[in-house]
Amino acid sequence: MEESNSLLVIIRHAPYSSNLLREGLDAALVAAAFGQPVDLLFLGQGVTALLKEQGIAAPGMKATRPTMDMLEMYDIEQLWTSEETLVALNLTRSDLRDNVQLIEAHALPAFMKSYSQILNF
């Protein structure tokens, strides 16, 4: 991700708690459709979007899973979260989708600096 226009989209909100997750994913998808290299970083409650079971929609609300599944089609294959995030919610790597990579504690600042652009949702 050393390219000069690489974008990191940070998702910090849970699927049904606000529309921020959805609107963050939309920004990532549009960037990818424009050919911009995009990675996604899930922090805080945002990591619940990566739960294997995620996707059973709340009654009356649009499911998140179909959008999550669309990410691969747009070549957004790098989904990241941090060790601190999992510890805070008592989750383990095995609770999450297979294509999620873990950033070690204290490595987050350097990780973020490797992107030329960041959007924080």
């Binding site: 049904y16 619940t48 059973i56």
Partner: protein, 95 residues
């Protein structure tokens, strides 16, 4: 009194709620509030676990269904939530 908590256990509102719980009060966790089920260290569990209910539909929607041991948590569906509001003359939402 029935307290309705809509935010996670780490939120400042979860701490405000704790000041307000009387001995005969109950608590329903809805929306983000269901995330408390992941946090065994949340004080609510030590202090009044027997009076806390999770809204089942939100547990499922938030993807927590298989992560938590349903034996150890009391859940209610929407009808059960209405039932709790019948039993308590006051309800108070913390958001």
């Amino acid at each position: 009194m029935l307290h309705i908590l809509t935010k996670g256990p780490d939120s400042d509102v979860a701490r405000q709620l704790q000041q307000a719980i009387a001995d005969d009060d109950a608590i329903v966790l809805i929306e983000e509030g269901v995330l408390a089920a992941l946090d065994g260290r949340w004080e609510g569990w030590t202090l009044y676990k027997s009076r806390i209910y999770l809204l089942a539909e939100d547990v499922a929607a938030w993807g927590l269904g298989e992560l938590i041991d349903s034996e150890t948590f009391a859940t209610v569906d929407m009808q059960g939530f209405v039932g709790l509001t019948e039993q308590h003359t006051q309800t108070l939402t913390w958001y």
